[in-house]
Symmetry: C2
Subunit: 243 residues, 2 copies
């Protein structure tokens, strides 16, 4: 009986494949088995970030999670995926799990981790989060000196979001998605609309970077974020440059 | 007169050179001019992360900031550094500025950025932050589902820290340093000492990962962080693995 394999949770960064770490690149390029989350109605975003370096002969284990408004828990899906991955690990083979952003920052990898980390060695490879990728694209520092940063999921109720924004120095609202109009109205009511920027699909070719006040769409993608610069002068779209 | 060069703020990640992004690696490897913060009493941490890939013939501009308890503002230092870097940019040459972690996440790059971004094209390359690197080393998910995350600088007063921890779902306390004993006492008083972990110098060879309750030192390095898992069972040190 061989030693068990290691479960790797590998952060891929926000989307631009060049924002992957060297370590992620090394582990994926040499992987014999890769796992990744995938929706039931299209390609896997995580897989797409790493697609060019997944070895052609690697075994792939997609974890197909139905994409519904109420996304979690998808208990049975993760139970089955953990059982399948556990078999591979028990046979002594490592499994490299591809994770958008960072595995432990609002990621679905935790559902595998909580099922498998007690039985098998695990290693987490951190990645660039959408949080700092969005600040980079908005060209405004996220936090400095002794700022308190609060990261708020957009689905929370207005009263809760309002109180948390009041108390914070720097604010990021994640998972804007279908909450866009409501959040715009709330920030307008708080006098903060001119101090907020929206980033959709940061660092990807389809990226959108806009002052929140100028956004007219009804909804934003799930992968979108509002950053609020409370202390700053009113928002102006930065000049963009790219390399 | 040539077009001006671009000011790059390049995140290097938390310390392990392999946690640099592919983009950071490409930009630094090809740099003609690199700038970086350096203390007046030792080597530059940022430069050390990238040391093996800085071209031998690159011009280096260290930004020497006196390391005092009250570190900022070091206005004159950044005024001079911005003037020197501005000359290089005006001459049409790019400047790659090396930043520990992420340039816009509690970083000193903002002092250059605020002086130069109005006059020259800038590009920010986000990096892996200590926030998720520490969560990775502690082997516990930082945030999930609709958790609100609050990042608190350790130098804040006890009353302020206490109120923010009470209100948050997940908590990170940055810049623990000389505030270690005070923070330990505060968390003990709040009944959270058994739910907290300390990471010093995440991902570096000198890294320390400990349950906060077992830490006996009087102080921690400036680059150290406490993560608090309020909802979890009491803390147990995870089994470590490495690749």
């Amino acid at each position: 009986m061989s030693a068990p394999g290691t479960l790797f949770g590998v952060g891929l960064g926000p989307g631009d494949p060049e924002l992957m770490t060297l370590k992620a690149h090394r582990l994926i390029s040499a992987a014999k088995v890769v796992a990744y989350p995938a929706p039931d109605d299209g390609p896997s975003f995580a897989r797409s970030i790493a697609a060019s370096i997944i070895p052609p002969d690697a075994r792939e284990i997609p974890i197909v999670v139905p994409m519904r408004l109420d996304r979690y828990p998808a208990k049975a899906v993760y139970d089955r995926a953990a059982a399948k991955i556990g078999e591979v690990l028990s046979a002594g083979q490592d499994v490299v799990t591809l994770c958008e952003g960072d595995p432990f920052f609002y990621g679905s990898f935790m559902y595998l981790f909580e099922r498998l980390s007690g039985q098998y060695p695990c290693e987490i490879v951190p990645g660039v989060t959408s949080l700092t990728a969005c600040a980079a694209r908005l060209q405004r520092p996220l936090t400095a000196r002794n700022d308190v940063l609060t990261v708020i999921p957009g689905p929370l109720a207005d009263d809760d979001i309002r109180a948390r924004i009041d108390a914070a120095g720097a604010v990021a609202i994640m998972k804007v998605g279908r909450h866009l109009k409501r959040l715009q109205a709330l920030l307008a009511d708080m006098g903060l609309l001119q101090h907020a920027g929206l980033v959709e699909r940061a660092t990807l070719p389809q990226e959108v970077v806009l002052p929140l006040a100028s956004v007219t769409a009804e909804t934003a993608p799930y992968f979108s974020m509002i950053l609020i610069y409370k202390g700053d002068e009113a928002w102006m779209l930065p000049p963009q440059s790219s390399s």
